[in-house]
């Protein structure tokens, strides 16, 4: 597909953020606060963090919020009324400054929430979300997108991909219809562009391993000691899953006082001991090593098998935020080496 390219000046991007806000969109961008960079609503570009690899949390919250009310319940003497979610209450969101890995993460969530079962709330949120990503001109030791089929300038998943080509200009690649809609709504901000090779503006993220074609081999090590060995230091919190752009597991709870209430879903993690606890008291994943195995299997075996998608985009968030330093890139290299040398 031939992707249309434009120039968006820094000053035009400033104006775009103002205009989008003025036109009733919520613009979320990476913002630095209390020493962390995370997505937050911005009214102007000046609020956006300049210096970040990726945000602490992924951008999945716009389509899969930490807490989502699925429907409301009202009871009276002789009647129970269920009130569906009001889709009109879902805001139109522009995500500015997502990275190509974040955008790739959306494709994986889309496959999960739009697979056998079409999750209507997820789809409604997705319909109202536009990704204006910015490609990566730098990376760090935790990044490994190129080892999991991504790259610092990949357009997949973004509606527009911006690349900073100098202090004043961004190269804008208009990837989707949603991207085109922004350009046609604000045509005065986008200028025509001579042919530009964006490669030289990209961060160098070396390919350090390749898991293509070894899904079955990983699966055949289901009973291996490697899972215990790798997870001895894991403390079993939910940080990796909560901040992961592709973790979509959730818990469902009713908040109900006898008269009215809501059914809510909230993020859950396969790293928690309660995650698989049966009502009988039996827990098929009783120890952390089994939970760690599940995390790896889901992303690198089950998703490739079910959706033909690798379940990890190599953003490195889990490794950066893990207090026990469960360094995913390193553990995957270790896993691959063990498998290949057996």
């Amino acid at each position: 597909m031939n992707i249309e390219k434009k120039i968006l000046k820094y000053s035009s991007l400033e104006e775009l953020v103002l205009k989008l806000n003025r036109d009733g969109k919520q613009v979320f961008a990476p913002v630095k606060k209390d020493n962390i960079v995370d997505f937050a609503p911005v009214s102007g570009l000046y609020e956006m963090a300049e210096d970040y690899i990726v945000t602490v949390q992924s951008a999945k919250f716009v389509v899969f919020p930490n807490v989502e009310t699925l429907f409301e319940i009202e009871t009276s003497k002789d009647k129970i009324t269920l009130k569906d979610k009001d889709f009109n209450s879902i805001p139109e969101i522009i995500l500015l400054g997502t990275r190509p890995c974040d955008a790739a993460g959306f494709n994986i969530l889309n496959a999960m929430f739009g697979g056998d079962y079409q999750d209507t709330i997820y789809s409604a949120r997705l319909d109202k979300t536009t990704l204006v990503s910015i490609s990566c001109n730098k990376s760090d030791a935790k990044c490994f997108c190129t080892s999991v089929n991504g790259n610092p300038g990949a357009t997949a998943g973004s509606d527009i991909l911006l690349t900073r080509i100098d202090n004043n200009d961004f190269l804008a690649e208009i990837v989707t219809e949603k991207g085109k809609a922004i350009v046609s709504k604000y045509p005065e901000l986008f200028e025509t562009v001579p042919e530009i090779n964006k490669d030289k503006y990209m961060a160098d993220v070396p390919v350090e391993f390749n898991l293509n074609g070894i899904s079955e081999k990983i699966y055949s090590r289901f009973d291996s000691d490697i899972w215990l060995e790798q997870s001895l230091r894991c403390i079993g919190c939910g940080t990796c899953a909560f901040i992961c752009p592709t973790c979509g597991c959730f818990d469902i709870q009713d908040a109900y006082d006898g008269y009215s209430g809501q059914r809510k879903r909230s993020w859950d993690s396969c790293g928690f001991s309660l995650f698989t606890l049966h009502a009988s008291g039996h827990n098929p994943r009783n120890v952390q090593s089994q939970r760690w195995r599940q995390r790896i299997m889901h992303k690198f075996v089950y998703l490739p098998e079910q959706q033909n998608l690798l379940g990890c985009v190599g953003c490195g968030r889990c490794s950066r935020s893990c207090s026990a330093n469960m360094n995913l890139k390193e553990l995957l290299i270790h896993l691959k080496n063990v498998i290949e040398n057996e």
Binding site: D34, N35, I36, D38, V56, Q57, N66, V67, A141, K142, L228, S231, L232, R233, I235, G236, C237, G238, T239, A241, F242, I243, D251, Q253, A255, K264, S266, W267, S269, F272, S273, L274, V287, Q288, S289, S321, S323, A324, N325, M326, N327, K329, E330, I333
Partner: protein, 270 residues
């Protein structure tokens, strides 16, 4: 560092312990806990300024227990945790061999928990100047301002990943209060109420037990200074009961023990 490696190798060689819980370095030079079981791997142990994690969190983990008797490389906060765990009858002197390490990396061998107590009595167990400054600010606030401070830090930032709980060596319940769901005591969702309920409950559960190692803060992906909430309870308990957790292997639990000579009158039989 060399003395740690030498001692670890020796302990494993003579099978005095089966695993050394210490610090190691990964491919990208980041530090994590390592569990050394072979004498020849003792050389992977490191100790420097980056080795801040409280390794005592691993002492009660079933998978680690299954490896055999551990020797733990324990900095000051870990030593205090070990005494507190002993006070709470979670570990005994026979369960673990403790190798203390000063912040300069000097190795300390202890004859027993009493010996650790002596060392801690002589050590500076104060929090950092920076933390003191924030505590002073918090204490100077009105009740409403302080509530607002916590609402901003907790309700607006916490994602309820429970990293604070998992990293805390004294949050060792096999099933946490929040995991009892019949009935559901504490709101599960990361809503303002669910978040505040969780943090206040946790602060109360570790009040009088917290050794202020700061691990909850270090583990928090959202950088919430949750350790300060716990430290305020530490200060209050020191002031009201003159007790500091993690100074003796033989402390009664402040919040769940009764003494007939309690200084509060309301608790006494009239």
């Amino acid at each position: 560092m060399e003395s740690i490696r030498k001692k670890a190798k020796e302990l494993l060689e003579k099978n005095a312990v089966q695993v050394i819980i210490g610090y190691g370095e990964g491919l990208d030079k980041s530090v994590s806990a390592i569990f050394v079981r072979k004498p020849e791997n003792a050389e992977t142990l490191i100790f420097d300024d980056r080795c801040v994690h409280n390794l005592a969190v691993y002492l009660l983990k079933n998978e680690i227990k299954a490896l055999g008797k551990p020797c733990i490389i324990a900095h000051l906060a870990a030593l205090r945790t070990i005494l507190q765990l002993a006070s709470e009858h979670q570990i005994t002197e026979d369960d673990v061999l403790v190798l203390g390490v000063t912040h300069k990396g000097e190795l300390m061998e202890f004859a027993g928990f009493k010996d650790i107590e002596k060392y801690i009595a002589s050590a500076n167990i104060d929090i950092s100047e920076n933390e003191k400054e924030i505590i002073n600010k918090l204490e100077a606030m009105t009740r409403e301002e302080r509530w607002q401070f916590w609402v901003e830090h907790l309700s607006l930032k916490c994602i309820k990943c429970y990293a604070c709980r998992a990293a805390c060596p004294l949050c060792y319940c096999s099933r946490c209060q929040v995991e009892y769901n019949q009935p559901q005591w504490i709101t599960v969702e990361a809503t303002p109420v669910g978040i505040i309920e969780w943090h206040i409950t946790r602060a109360m559960h570790i009040a009088g037990r917290c050794v202020s190692c700061g691990e909850c803060y270090r583990a928090c992906p959202m950088n919430i200074p949750i350790n300060l909430l716990n430290y305020l309870t530490v200060l209050t308990i020191k002031e009201k009961f003159n007790v500091s957790a993690g100074t003796s292997a033989d402390l009664d639990s402040v919040m769940s023990s009764f003494k007939s000579d309690d200084k509060e009158n309301f608790i006494k039989q009239s």
